[in-house]
Subunit: 203 residues, 2 copies
DNA sequence: TAATGCATGTAACTCGTTACATGATTCT
DNA sequence: AGAATCATGTAACGAGTTACATGCATTA
């Protein structure tokens, strides 16, 4: 694509040239949670665990450093915690108007979803190397997992219903839930069909 | 979980203690392709591009070092390329009986699929911060992408049909294709439903 | 008083991609 | 002659997780 006249020189400039990589959306996941009012690292992690965990997750090792970066960038500000009841240490943050603007801008950007790696399909692709019965076991296990996932979705639905929020807010949350349900049901149907296919193969 | 009596000492032993991590299934993706007869790094990459790309992909930066490791582990062996027609440099490999055994063992292991990150759903989760019309645009864009994906699946189907392979082999390949189709269709239906929902929201 | 939960934070490490480097051959 | 494709390989970087470190408060 790009003409590189001198390899050696290009190498020497590497460090200066490279820098602003694509960077994942973690920053906005965290910023978004701040916008919803979850205001500490711990709260954000908990909120993710009960709401977005089926399509987005973050670890403490990412959340705390990112909060620091967001402060540096002026997207959020640190609140000086005024003597919490119980005296526990607790560092709260608030999204700034600038942060909210950044969030809105990000929301407008179209997404390009990379096909996620799926180890089950990879195994099935090489399935002819194994016994059909063995493959059936792992497909059935996946189906069981999907069933559990569907029940988990029911819990999330109650969480959404219970939380105080505008109807619009809830409509968006239910949309993400509908996604999970639709896809899980399609996957379950596929598992069943595949199990039947495997029964028809040499045992 | 584990009782650590002395933090400082534990830290000092870090390098010795940690080593055999979980490690992704890349090794088996490559080993599997070798088992199907794709015998060079380049061939493997190409094969992935036309068959598993929708649920598994690998880059050269991973393939070539992995081939080296697989040789070290005795899972594959290097063929001394006997004067290729054209004289092109070409390094071929063959899976060993040991490698085939490893592959079969791996196939039997049940998989635990982590919920993959989905940036579209993350945006929708925070969608109330934006205009419904803006959200509709990104959902529609996704739907268009899924439509393209479905046509791509048709191409893969012809590839499978054209390739010489046992009916069992083809049945497995078609199963992975069916998965892609079912899920894509479910996602398309969800997009349509979501777009309708967004129409019903404040513009 | 011992375990569990609340709460914050960092260092080391894993895994993999991107960009680069290199060079032959075939197509236009 | 120049572009595209074949073909292999490495160094640097990005993005994040895990394991560890720490300490207070609540519950059994």
């Amino acid at each position: 694509m790009k003409t590189v006249p001198d390899g050696k020189k290009a190498r020497a400039e590497d460090k200066a040239v490279r820098s602003a990589g694509p960077e994942k959306a973690s920053r906005f996941a965290i910023l978004g949670m701040l916008s919803l009012g979850y205001d500490t690292g711990y709260e954000i992690k908990k909120a993710i665990g009960v709401s977005t965990v089926n399509f987005w997750s973050e670890s403490y090792g990412n959340i705390y450093p990112m909060l620091k970066r967001l402060v540096e960038e002026g997207a959020i500000r640190k609140l000086d915690s005024v003597a919490e009841p119980g005296g526990r240490r607790k560092q709260a943050y608030r999204i700034t108007p600038h942060g909210r603007k950044l969030l809105k801008e990000w929301l407008r950007q179209p997404v390009r979803l990379p096909a996620p790696d799926n180890e089950l399909l990879l195994k099935l692709f090489f399935g002819a190397e194994a016994q059909a019965s063995e493959m059936k076991v792992i497909v059935a296990a996946r189906r069981a997992e999907l069933d559990r996932q569907l029940s988990h979705f029911a819990q999330i639905a109650s969480y959404i219903a219970s939380r105080e929020a505008t109807p619009t807010q809830k409509a968006y949350w239910m949309a993400t839930l509908r996604y999970g349900k639709s896809v899980a049901r399609a996957e379950i149907a596929w598992c069943e069909e595949t199990e039947r296919m495997l029964d028809g193969l040499a045992p």
